[in-house]
């Protein structure tokens, strides 16, 4: 059994779970300023109230799993992106408590937690996007240590991916609202979605052009024969999903926009994986080079394989019970 391969799959899965589950949460925080009325804000909050917060645990699992299975990658990637990761964590702290404190605070303090919620969501998303872009650009490593500068993560490309992720999460948020609400909130969500869809499609096109131009290795991976045959479904499905998404918004469907946005996000994630595979520290340290000994990976895998399915089952059940629309005046507390 190829333990590094399994572990790469487990960690990719944990991160994907995080992106899917926290993406629309963060998106709602980003969109919050566009819902100024208190009743609307309450509805927005209520749509995620039951599924909030557990999401971040996937991020913790991704981090701890990375340390256990690929200590070299953990140490290099985290120290290379020191500042943006710290900024992201601080954003998540604010976001994590603001949500609850908002309901508990004195009336005159509430606006502070509202701002903390917005600011935390935006900061966490933007810096996740920055890290993603900078990661894809590659990390110089000498003698198993990060060998770049402290500010190497600030590049036009990474700043762009930061913005792109803001758009992506915002779109997840707005389509989520379409699915979960009605009336004035839903109307506003449709308006926002129409703009955000084009924003996201533009961002995807720009990244798809920019990445191979910037990095010949990645161009090679996608366009050389026969890779192109294996990789082709990803762009094709992306175009199909994009078309269906536009159609669904035009037809004012309720659930479809969210599902197709999710499809787009997942496809992008897969595409990102193809660009990097099998490297865990781009451009050239593979999952096998970075892996911890089998004693570590095997020992930890036992626990992961028992517990992760249980958590998944519980989570799915939670979403299932919580299906349906949230209305004005349905109290959160």
């Amino acid at each position: 059994m190829d333990l590094p391969f399994i572990w790469a799959a487990v960690i990719l899965f944990a991160v994907l779970m995080y992106v899917i589950m926290d993406g629309f949460d963060l998106g709602l925080g980003i969109l919050y300023p566009w819902f100024p009325a208190k009743e609307d804000r309450d509805v927005v909050m209520n749509t995620v109230a039951p599924v909030w917060d557990g999401n971040e645990t996937w991020l913790v699992l991704g981090g701890a799993g990375l340390l256990a299975a690929f200590p070299l990658a953990y140490s290099v990637v985290l120290s290379a992106f020191y500042l943006p990761l710290i900024f992201m964590l601080i954003g998540l702290i604010f976001r994590g408590v603001a949500f609850e404190f908002r309901f508990k605070a004195h009336e005159h303090e509430r606006h502070f937690w509202d701002k903390a919620f917005i600011g935390g969501s935006i900061a966490a998303t933007f810096f996740q996007g920055v890290v993603l872009g900078a990661y894809e650009q590659g990390i110089p490593v000498v003698e198993r240590m990060y060998a770049g500068s402290a500010w190497a993560w600030v590049t036009p490309f990474s700043l762009f991916t930061g913005l792109a992720l803001l758009v992506a999460y915002a779109l997840l948020g707005s389509t989520w609202l379409i699915m979960k609400t009605e009336g004035s909130v839903q109307e506003q969500a449709y308006r926002l979605t129409k703009k955000l869809v084009w924003g996201l499609l533009a961002a995807i096109v720009i990244v798809c052009v920019w990445t191979p131009l910037m990095n010949p290795g990645i161009a090679q991976r996608w366009f050389a024969y026969p890779n192109i045959l294996y990789a082709a479904p990803v762009p094709i499905l992306t175009v199909v999903s994009a078309a269906l998404l536009l159609l669904a918004v035009a037809k004012r469907s309720h659930a479809a926009p969210f599902l197709f946005t999710l499809a787009l996000v997942i496809l992008n994630y897969v595409g990102f994986g193809i660009s990097l595979w099998p490297n865990i520290i781009p451009p050239n340290i593979s999952i096998w080079d970075a892996s911890s000994p089998p004693q570590s990976q095997g020992f930890t895998l036992v626990g992961a394989l028992v517990i992760i399915p249980l958590v998944l089952a519980y989570t799915l059940w939670g979403y299932y019970v919580f299906r349906g629309k949230v209305k004005h005046g349905e109290g959160y507390h």
Binding site: A68, P71, Y74, I90, F101, E109, Y146, P293, G318
Partner: protein, 473 residues
């Protein structure tokens, strides 16, 4: 300030904040299990009232433990990247198991415990509370295993300049693990009991006297009376174990610089260990007591600081004092327990104002001892991050002073604002006090409800306006 100093301060700062919440989580979870057991057995309403009161505080505290823990799990990589590469294959799996067990607990039993009172039978609900309490202790076990292994590593081999775990049992059950696990768990119980006791004392002092408040004080003081002495005993064993495995740490704790003559080692009660002058200034000593405590003989010798190269000596000035602070508070707790027993016997436990005032002041002292204890443990093992194997200076990431300063300033500002507000909120909750025979309408939570296990804090419905006694009463 070097980058290394800054990285250490930052780690110490963030983990010191973190440990406050888990310590209370661990203690309260077990306290809740006891309360529920008493309720099921005796059916006295006070236990039920107390359960509901402390459950809210537990929920908010738990939420802050999760948020502050998120930062910890990334800091090993951001701040101690070379350590992570070197030892990650050993500490990583232990940490992952901690997350997985915390996961498991959150996913299932916490939801039932917080929201399921009216959904599941009493037996199942009690079972869930017990499982949550057990879960916090399991999670403690993993993280303490990881820390203890860094103090007294074994069960590994070295290959290509990195550690490889060879025997997980011997990694986990390393020599300092049992002592540290027991000492830390008891510390969590004591700290929680002190907080419970202080909350009760506060209400009694303000004339808010009822059966539940009295029960709180009484339970907390039984805990002091019985468990505080056990903690001192365990601490003594812990120290003897340290003498064996980390002699330099112990010498620094004792401020013991050299062995002269054939007389026994004195115990230095107070003084100022001076690292430059290699002496403990202004010391107040008890002859031979050091030998007696540490070697259980009249003239036994313990290693002295001067026997270690200068570069291998931990900072004695700090650990000398943090250790005395912890032990001093430990004895204060024992004294509090004895005083409470005396007053209980005379029937004045709930009315003696001097006692209640002292109990109030002792409220935060458990947390203070925990912090003092950890500083002793962690600074006492310097300059090693993995004892005898890797120096802290070799484990640190290569960040610039600028980067670390930015992040440290941000952390300090934000932790005080965010967790300060959270702790303020906890205190306000405690000030409401338990409500007697509160009519508890079904407030179902869990999936599909506004209140949910994934957000433990949502178990609390009070807003600060309602909490403020000056406005609500």
């Amino acid at each position: 300030m070097t980058a290394l100093d800054l990285a250490r301060i930052q780690f110490g700062f963030t983990i010191s904040f973190h440990i406050i919440f888990p310590a209370i989580t661990i203690g309260l979870a077990s306290y809740l299990a006891v309360l529920e057991a008493c309720w099921l057995k005796t059916r006295k309403p006070v236990y039920n009232d107390l359960y509901h009161f402390w459950l809210k505080i537990f929920a908010v505290n738990f939420g802050m433990g999760v948020v502050s823990g998120l930062v910890m799990s990334y800091e090993f990589g951001t701040n101690w990247s070379r350590f992570s590469d070197y030892a990650g294959s050993v500490t990583g799996p232990l940490l992952t198991y901690e997350v997985l067990t915390a996961f498991f607990l959150e996913a299932g039993f916490l939801g039932v415990m917080l929201f399921g009172r009216h959904k599941v039978g009493e037996g199942l609900h009690f079972f869930s509370t017990v499982m949550v309490a057990l879960g916090t202790l399991i999670s403690t076990t993993w993280i303490i295993a990881s820390n203890s292994w860094m103090q007294t590593p074994q069960g590994y081999t070295l290959a290509d300049g990195r550690l490889i775990p060879m025997d997980w049992l011997s990694v986990i059950f390393n020599p300092s693990f049992p002592y540290r696990l027991v000492h830390m768990s008891i510390a969590a119980f004591l700290s929680t009991a002190l907080i419970v006791g202080a909350a009760a004392a506060w209400h009694l002092l303000r004339g808010n006297d009822n059966a539940a408040v009295r029960k709180m004080l009484s339970m907390a003081m039984w805990m002091m009376l019985i468990v505080a002495p056990i903690q001192a005993f365990v601490g003594d064993l812990h120290g003897l174990n340290t003498l064996h495995h980390q002699p330099a740490k112990l010498a620094a704790i004792e401020g013991h610089w050299e062995n002269t003559g054939s007389d026994g080692t004195p115990l230095i009660l107070f003084g100022w260990p001076d690292m430059e002058r290699e002496a403990t200034l202004y010391s107040v000593e008890v002859p031979r007591l050091g030998s007696l405590i540490l070697t259980h003989s009249w003239d036994g010798k313990i290693p002295a600081l001067k026997e270690f190269p200068k570069a291998d000596r931990p900072n004695s000035t700090v650990v000398f004092w943090t250790f005395r602070l912890m032990v001093g508070l430990g004895f204060a707790m024992i004294a509090l327990g004895l005083w409470s027993a005396w007053l209980r016997w005379r029937g004045e436990l709930f009315t003696s104002r001097p006692f209640l005032n002292v109990a109030l002041v002792m409220g935060p002292m458990g947390i203070v001892s925990i912090l003092a204890g950890w500083i002793t443990t962690e600074m006492g093992r310097q300059p090693w991050v993995v004892y005898g194997l890797m120096r802290t200076a070799d484990g640190v990431s290569r960040h610039s002073v600028l980067e670390l300063s930015i992040s440290l300033v941000l952390f300090v500002l934000i932790y005080f604002a965010v967790f300060g507000a959270g702790i303020g909120y906890l205190i306000r909750l405690m000030r409401i006090g338990p409500v007697l025979n509160e009519p508890r309408e079904v407030d179902a939570g869990g999936p599909g409800q506004g209140r949910h296990a994934m957000r433990p804090m949502s178990a609390v419905t009070e807003s600060a306006d309602a909490l403020d006694p000056s406005r609500s009463s």
